[in-house]
């Protein structure tokens, strides 16, 4: 049974809504600088201006146009989220395939690592790793990826394990098909939809993690992500001056909408994956 246990129609509607929102944000991320009224790093006006015709969301504490920063933030947050998710899913996929295919000692060791990574509370782990590494976008991506590879690994592994015993695979093996061929011809096509579904799930988490790290001060404040916008807003009295309405509310809403869109798309994908594989994909 699928996670939401809901009807096909519901899932499809939501998936479409999600896909549309994501496309919008994706376009924003790519072409944002053309649409935005000002350059995100430009000092477009006096600091702390309230929303007006010139600045639909006002200006921040240095005079950057908040709307432009919001649009620019889409690129940063999406980039970090997508890259981190891609790394985790690829690494997780590789681990899962090797583990499920090789079995034996390799499997045992890798699976214990997976168990560990799944059980350890993620944000504290994030904090520890972020404390040791240098600041910067690269290490932020790394930090998030380090924490999120385990679930894809486990899911892929269980899929590979069940695949090994399927009739068509067994048949291929009796005919003398070897590892690389099997992997290419049978494992990859079966595992790919899983990985895509996992990717979509992980991106949401990755974005939320990056935003959380920025907020607590373990991110890179110079990187104009949505999270650092909220951090500056909080530090410059946005809730005392009432500026939170246009400085804290919009970035948070954007984050929620993007993450939610990924989740909706995930709902739709999950359903397709379930149908294709004929059974529940989760262990």
């Amino acid at each position: 049974m699928s996670k939401a246990g809901s009807g096909r129609r519901t899932n499809r509607t939501l998936a479409i809504v999600g896909a549309v929102m994501l496309t919008l944000f994706g376009l924003l991320a790519v072409f944002g600088s053309a649409i935005a009224p000002y350059d995100a790093g430009e000092r477009a006006g006096r600091p702390f201006l309230e929303p007006s015709r010139d600045h639909l969301l006002g200006t921040d504490d240095v005079g950057h146009d908040i709307l432009s920063e919001l649009i620019g933030g889409a690129r940063v947050s999406l980039l970090i989220g997508v890259t981190a998710a891609a790394i985790s899913v690829v690494v997780g996929g590789l681990v899962g395939v090797s583990s499920g295919y090789r079995r034996g000692a390799v499997d045992a060791v890798l699976m214990r690592a997976v168990d560990f990574a799944l059980v350890v509370p993620t944000i504290p782990l994030l904090i520890v790793v972020a404390t040791y590494l240098e600041r910067g976008m690269r290490s932020q991506i790394l930090v998030v990826a380090v924490v999120l590879w385990a679930q894809p690994a486990r899911i892929v592994r269980s899929q590979v394990l069940s695949l090994r015993e399927r009739t068509h695979v067994l048949a291929a093996r009796t005919y003398g098909a070897r590892g690389p061929y099997l992997v290419r011809r049978h494992v990859v096509p079966a595992v790919t939809p899983l990985l895509i579904a996992e990717f979509v799930r992980v991106v949401s988490i990755a974005i939320l993690f990056e935003v959380a790290l920025s907020f607590i001060g373990l991110g890179d404040p110079v990187r104009r992500s949505w999270g650092s916008m909220i951090q500056f807003a909080t530090d410059r009295g946005a809730f005392l001056t009432g500026a939170w309405k246009w400085w804290i509310l919009p970035p948070g809403l954007c984050i929620a909408v993007v993450v939610c869109s990924f989740a909706f798309v995930g709902l739709g994908l999950e359903e397709r994956v379930d149908r294709r594989l004929g059974r529940s994909a989760t262990t």
């Binding site: 214990r112 168990d115 509370p121 504290p124 904090i127 520890v128 939320l208 809730f239 804290i248 909706f264």
Partner: protein, 333 residues
């Protein structure tokens, strides 16, 4: 419905224990070993990584003494052995910044986080299950989509953002709730103190509940829907039992298994969320302790805190795992 003889049941539970417990023990060992390995692998001064940045400011003899205690001059295996022996004794190291043992600092702050996470877990579970039961028994396509959409959206909001908004509205603007802290600085005793603690708990717990009730709802709903199709429920309906009776006496207990286990397994995620939420409300739990340690480059304290938190989460996971056969009547069959 043949019942399993008591002996066989006990045997099954024991077998489960025998399999599960060593797995969890292994996880704890891996966590401890990672704690040991991390400072020794990372780039940076060994003194600073092992004793915290503050250690750099101590006189040279003290530093040499401490390093000798840690055994930095010894071969790696010896260091590992001493480290593990220390852990078994409950020795998590010393914080030079605070001049107190890490275990004391952690013990002071951990109960508050447990209080926060426990309360949030309880409330979000009750709320989520109740809402899900309501949603399942009053199904309708539009309402379905709306409720799934709403709760997924809630799950997608950054917890600290919700926390900040609650802080702005209730504490700063309406002024009905405290702005910060776990307890007010004026000494109160008895009932007044309990009330004070509860007041300070409201906003942080509400934030955690808002961001985690969605997941409980979605899961509970899925479980209940799955169960609703089961034979014995159909039989109950055919017998003419009222919907409510079907729900509470038959469906809910069956669905309770995945709900209960997933609730317990969510402790890890909730604990992580609590760390961020504690920061928003200056709530003095283990989350803020870890952040202080992180900013103060007090590595022993940071790692000690994470390790203890991991232990607690692993423990709860183990309980969830063990509870697995006991709650589901089908398994008992």
């Amino acid at each position: 419905m043949a019942d399993v003889p008591a002996g066989r049941r006990r045997h099954r539970v024991l077998r489960r224990l025998a399999v599960r417990v060593p797995q969890y023990v292994l996880i704890v060992l891996v966590a401890a070993s990672a704690n040991f390995a991390l400072p020794r692998l990372m780039p940076g001064e060994p003194v600073e990584l092992l004793l915290g940045e503050m250690a750099n400011r101590l006189p040279a003899e003290t530093v040499a003494q401490e390093l000798a205690d840690v055994g930095l001059d010894q071969p790696l295996l010896v260091q590992y052995g001493r480290y593990m022996a220390g852990l078994a004794r409950g020795d998590l190291g010393y914080s030079f910044r605070h001049r107190r043992p890490v275990s004391t600092l952690v013990a002071e702050r951990l109960p508050w986080t447990i209080l926060l996470v426990g309360t949030a877990l309880l409330i979000s579970t009750i709320l989520g299950v109740a809402l899900a039961a309501f949603a399942v028994w009053r199904r309708g396509r539009r309402r379905d989509t709306a409720s799934i959409a709403l709760f997924t959206f809630l799950e997608s909001t950054p917890p600290f953002w919700i926390g900040l908004l609650l802080l702005i509205w209730f504490a700063a603007n309406l002024k009905v709730l405290p702005l910060y802290g776990t307890v007010s600085v004026d000494a109160t005793t008895g009932l007044a103190r309990v009330g004070d603690i509860l007041l300070h708990l409201v906003l942080p717990a509400a934030t955690l509940v808002l961001t985690s009730v969605g997941a409980v709802f979605l899961l509970a709903r899925a479980s209940l829907l799955g169960v609703v199709r089961e034979d014995y429920v159909l039989v109950a309906r055919a017998k003419g039992l009222r919907e409510r009776s079907v729900a509470f006496r038959h469906a809910l207990p069956a669905a309770s298994l995945p709900i209960a286990t997933s609730v317990l397994l969510r402790v890890g995620a909730l604990a992580g969320g609590a760390v961020i939420v504690e920061r928003v409300f200056s709530y003095r739990g283990i989350g803020t302790l870890m952040l202080e340690a992180s900013f103060g480059r007090d590595f022993p304290l940071l790692q000690g805190g994470v390790f203890v938190l991991t232990l607690v989460v692993v423990g709860v996971n183990l309980v969830g795992d063990l509870l697995y056969p006991r709650l589901d009547p089908r398994v008992r069959r």
